[in-house]
């Protein structure tokens, strides 16, 4: 079935990216194959409803509630489904926990797989060639690009998302956060800390 004919149909559309999308949308709309109002709804969902705040809530609760953390370890998919963070690109969730001994970091070298229901649409750098190429071979140098330096006593485990399983990093809980409630803890959980290119911020 692969037919590398070098005469790809996409070249028939206007070359400018914005005009190319617009042309395709117009053609499909005229034929009744897409409804522009549905497109608006999809965009609104990922701009305003689904994003890293979801993942931060999961992390904050995992930090505060040992039974919740244990349930995540056993079946993260079932747990996030219960709290409404299930769906496209998050059908099979696994958590990976950072400790003083192991730092986890997530990449998709072959495309840009990412846990959408928990983190939303991936940032540009996650989809960049540089991240996809380098994260597996030199994760520590990539972390330096993010201002993170790991000590010699911490091993790095890079998870290359080659299947439909999506990984959420549970960053280490910062020190000095003992009295904080879940809302205050969630505010410390950055998007990058749940990908593993950052750390949770100290209060």
């Amino acid at each position: 079935m692969p037919h590398d004919d070098h005469d790809h149909p996409h070249s028939l559309l206007p070359p400018d990216p914005a005009l190319r999308v617009k042309a395709l949308e117009t053609i499909l709309t005229r034929k009744g194959l897409i409804d522009p109002a549905a497109l608006d709804e999809i965009i609104d969902t990922y701009e305003n409803k689904i994003g890293p705040k979801n993942g931060a809530r999961v992390v904050a609760r995992a930090w505060s509630d040992s039974a919740f953390l244990e349930a995540l370890r056993v079946d993260a998919t079932a747990v996030v489904k219960d709290i409404g963070f299930y769906g496209r690109q998050g059908e099979h969730m696994v958590i990976v926990e950072n400790t003083p001994e192991v730092h986890n970091m997530v990449v998709c070298t072959l495309c840009s797989c990412y846990p959408w229901p928990l983190l939303g649409i991936p940032p540009g750098w996650y989809k960049s060639d540089a991240y996809r190429a380098r994260a597996v071979r030199e994760p520590r140098k990539v972390l330096v690009d993010f201002g993170v330096s790991l000590g010699e006593n911490t091993a790095v485990r890079v998870w290359d998302s080659t299947a439909e399983v999506r990984y959420l990093v549970i960053p280490m809980r910062p020190e000095g956060t003992d009295g904080l409630d879940e809302d205050a803890l969630a505010a410390l959980v950055t998007r990058d800390s749940m990908i593993g290119t950052g750390l949770a911020v100290a209060p």
Partner: protein, 225 residues
């Protein structure tokens, strides 16, 4: 061999540039439109996620490297729409007919968006292929990598991990095999594992003796080591 998308471990790409976490989800309006058109067309039911990934991978290396992320999506979608006969080349040049399409009754409606996104597309399936490996067991990946069913076809074993020895860390259950599914040869579900490889097994100059890379790999990519 695989294709141009298989870039894990490549040298020469320069720094990764972090972004403001509070920046726009779609830096350009057309990024959101490209994503939304692609998702909406999925509802037409003419392909699965493996077919759509392979459509992007089939871009020529020149196009793949010069296109930005959502340009790849748009190009892959246009190619797929023509390949599946949903659109014709004349449609793309604006010379095709307007009016209702035979698949128009499948168009995603605004009120269906939420449930469609919530439903997602789980890839786990029952399988009559029993797991051969268990956590802790040593395995070796196939070498060379590549689709064994279709020459030049879709596969999810990156070149950097071909012929490498690692250990099973987790059984994910049985999942649809992309090598088959991407080519409409059936879902062919089989056991899927997380497999950890020491960095020294993959790279000539590993950064640290304890570092590892973990990949999700199907049973048919693996043999006992």
């Amino acid at each position: 061999m695989t294709r141009v998308h298989d870039m894990g471990g490549r040298y020469g790409d320069g720094p990764v540039v972090p972004e403001d976490e509070n920046g726009p989800v779609f830096p350009k309006d057309w990024h959101g439109r490209a994503l939304a058109v692609t998702l909406a067309c999925g509802s037409l039911g003419q392909w699965n996620i493996d077919i759509s990934r392979h459509a992007r991978e089939q871009l020529s290396p020149q196009d793949y490297m010069r296109f930005s992320y959502y340009e790849k999506w748009t190009a892959g979608l246009a190619d797929l729409l023509v390949e599946t006969g949903v659109l014709t080349r004349e449609d793309l040049t604006g010379e095709g007919p307007d009016g209702p399409h035979p698949l128009a009754d499948r168009a995603m409606k605004p009120e269906a968006v939420k449930q469609t996104l919530v439903n997602g597309g789980p890839a786990d399936r029952d399988s009559n292929i029993a797991p051969l490996f268990e956590p802790g067991q040593a395995v070796r990946t196939a070498r060379p990598t590549g689709n064994r069913l279709v020459d030049g076809g879709h596969t999810r074993l990156p070149a950097y991990a071909a012929g490498a020895t690692g250990r099973i860390v987790r059984l994910h259950g049985s999942h649809v095999l992309p090598d088959s599914s991407a080519h409409r040869l059936g879902e062919a579900p089989e056991p899927l594992y997380a497999v950890a490889f020491p960095a020294a097994e993959l790279w000539t100059d590993p950064e640290h003796p304890d570092d590892e890379v973990v990949l999700d790999l199907w049973q048919s990519y693996l043999e006992p080591a």
